[in-house]
Point group: C2
Chain length 466, copies 2
């Protein structure tokens, strides 16, 4: 679909101009006033056009447990999550749709889904997510979540010797599944990308990381992993490697310019230098870091060291939403706590750039996406500045990032295809989605988790909680 | 208006029940299943009924500057705010309407407006806010913001001797205005309350505090002030009193069980004991504390010490919104950073109680408001649990507090009068409000502030910023 957006506000340098934007064959072909309309006219009056944001780290199927897991730190929260993880592809399908919709309705046009796989139905799980994302039309980066160690290994041993069950699937099988997934589903031009995504040093052997590096090199895939989300993981890395997790990942060659690292809360100064050298990207997930008490990622230090940073919502049961504007807001203002000199605080314009170009850079596609520029792909979002939550009129980007915008997305396009029009998703039936989510769930109070009861004593002991 | 809500979910102990709720003459008269309908039936199917929340600290006219003030700490942010504060009652009217509407649409039925007064039109400003709140129908606690020292006195001197301009209005005039306001507008039974509200130790003399105490005693008024929002204020209190601000306020008799204290970020352990002894209430404004880099208020310590805590949005240009659910969410999960033992973390149910009963307690009306109980006034909010942002169904209160609910308020009542019906404000014309806010404003980039340029050098020097 070709179209011309007439008289939209866009951001230039430190101000705004009103202009026209033309899109032909999925790409931006002109940004200048008084353009002739090609095919379809989009009314840009009183609207702001921005590049689409990246929801650069989430786990879609967690949507089934949002709101229900009690206040717990990551290690025990994860134990609770495992107790009640959905086990059928129909749920995977619906939560992928829900994740895509909430991302789109909060300014995101791309999602990195660190996708939890149903044991024994791994390729079916991936196929299901692919189907959901294609139906909605969001640009998808599916990062199948793999590991080769069992859950209890994610908690440091401390003084004790713990016994761990072996992981149910062999390393070889896991890598074979990954290679099959790449062959079947990796189609960047169709908007579906597969990433290699070992869950993190806490539950993965070196062999798994190395197998992923080989696949990444062979098929030109981006890499994704959790990194040092909690203090417990920092301890664990020390036990496991005798050095920091970042040093170890650098040594085995996992870090490069197409690697995105979720969280990065517990890094040392020397680790930050390694991220800068290797041109790795940090994905900041401020809401889950608060919810799980993980800590404040030193984002201002990353920025000052030249490390690329972007934002993610993280899975919906550690957030417990998929509102990218909320993640961008909190992920910007949170750091004012850590730095007394306000000259370093993140500005709303800087936050928008991190959420758009920062995301594209992390996925090695900054030449194609992440900004409004002629020649780039048309992943665009048009915000309605006449919405009550963005009034009175002041600085549109300030209102969008620092405010609490509600129902402000007028239109969104991915690769030039319109997915939101007049505030409504056009590609799928939202009422049906709502009905399906309703029918397959029930209200409950926070359930007790046997896994949490089992792991809590060791966690409390290792972390010095009495 | 009398009505019966049929088959609504309500929270009891640690679970939920479906029941009916009857309201007659503005009060809850029955909560039990199978009630006969009196006058009007309200369909409670798939909905959750909660007591209305309190937006326990805001400054309504800041709405005119939301989104536009750059990242600055309180003292300089305030200087920027002063440069561009609205100066006519029409703006006061519209921003009070906007503040009331956003509060209502995020679950609040009461607002404490620490109202900035137009110099020379103080009583007109208050009258205007009263009119706006009565038109919308929200329960209003208007706390005219008074001071008797000029802005530059709010920054500690450090080593230097600064000269300060005298404040433009005398103490006597200010107190006379306050007394006139009480006589004209204080009508608790009509839903309009006047509070005495010196802005804070940073800009008020002891004589002003003492004058406010006298008015509070004479007319049985609640008290409200900012307290130790920033590290600079902690320093200033030490310079001014040679003791902490809390010790000083206790000594002069300002603290009692109807005193609400906004912020309370920089208190010592001994100060916390004073708050507990005096039964003062802390109003937690997490979003402005992040936005202005003020710090994390030690809310878990307050709770453990038995201090009553509730939530506020703070003014819309330090937040930059009036979404109470956002303040409750961030105000709950933020503290997980400060306490390693998750057993002390705030649960969603605890947060709801703080936002409702905690607010009522701070305003000395916990016998009348703040919970669903027979005999209490009917300030009620009915949430639509069939909304996409609250699906799939899990724990309704968990979803409401930890999620990012959008358009979830089905109905709201204040004193039994319906103000929201089917998600729409029924008392005022929202399209007209939107149009007025639009017409009286313009898009702009962040303007330069002469006040900030003037104060920044001293601020940077005193705070040790180079």
């Amino acid at each position: 679909m070709n179209f011309t957006i007439k008289n939209t506000l866009i951001s230039v340098a430190d101000s705004y101009v009103t202009t026209d934007v033309q899109v032909v064959d999925g790409k931006i072909t002109a940004i200048t006033p008084n353009l002739e309309i090609i095919d379809t006219e989009i009314n840009g009056d009183n609207k702001l056009l921005l590049p689409g944001f990246f929801n650069a780290h989430t786990h879609s199927s967690e949507m089934w447990q949002r709101g229900v897991i009690p206040p717990l730190p990551l290690e025990l929260w994860l134990a609770h999550l495992y107790d009640f993880t959905p086990l059928n592809t129909e749920q995977v399908y619906l939560s992928a749709l829900g994740t895509a919709v909430e991302t789109l309705l909060s300014g995101g046009t791309s999602v990195v889904d660190h996708l939890v796989l149903i044991p024994g139905q791994e390729l079916e799980t991936i196929a299901t997510a692919v189907r959901a994302y294609q139906e909605v039309g969001i640009r998808a980066f599916i990062a199948p979540l793999i590991q080769d160690e069992s859950l209890s290994m994610g908690i440091p041993n401390g003084e004790s010797q713990a016994n761990h069950e072996p992981y149910f699937r062999s390393l070889g099988e896991t890598l074979a599944i990954m290679e099959a997934a790449v062959k079947q589903f990796h189609q960047p031009e169709a908007g579906i990308n597969i990433l290699v995504a070992p869950t993190g040093i806490q539950l993965c052997s070196d062999d798994l990381f190395i197998g992923c590096i080989a696949l990444s090199n062979k098929y030109d895939l981006c890499r994704h992993t959790h990194l040092l989300e909690t203090k417990a993981q920092e301890k664990l890395a020390e036990e496991k490697y005798g050095c920091t997790a970042v040093q170890h990942l650098q040594e085995i060659g996992f870090l490069n310019s197409c690697t995105t690292l979720a969280h990065c809360v517990w890094l040392k100064e020397s680790d930050i230098n390694i991220l800068a050298q290797t041109q790795s990207t940090v994905v900041h997930n401020p809401l889950s870091n608060l919810r799980l008490g993980s800590g404040i990622a030193p984002i201002l230090k990353y920025i000052q060291a030249g490390v690329n940073v972007t934002f993610g919502c993280d899975g919906a049961s550690s957030n417990d939403s998929q509102d990218l504007l909320e993640a961008i807001k909190i992920g910007s203002i949170l750091h004012n706590l850590t730095e007394p000199d306000y000259q370093y605080w993140i500005t709303p314009r800087q936050a928008v750039k991190m959420a758009s170009l920062g995301g594209a850079k992390g996925l090695n596609i900054e030449d194609e996406l992440g900004s409004l520029a002629v020649g780039k792909k048309a992943d665009l979002v048009l915000y309605d500045l006449n919405n009550l939550s963005l009034l009175p009129r002041t600085d549109p980007i300030g209102l969008l990032v620092l405010g609490r915008p509600v129902n402000v997305i007028n239109s969104a396009w991915v690769n030039g295809k319109q997915i939101i029009s007049n505030g409504k998703i056009t590609t799928i039936n939202i009422d049906e989605l709502r009905q399906e989510l309703f029918n397959r769930s029930h209200w409950e109070t926070q359930p007790k988790s046997a896994n949490v009861d089992k792991l809590a004593p060791r966690y409390r002991q290792v972390m010095g909680l009495n």
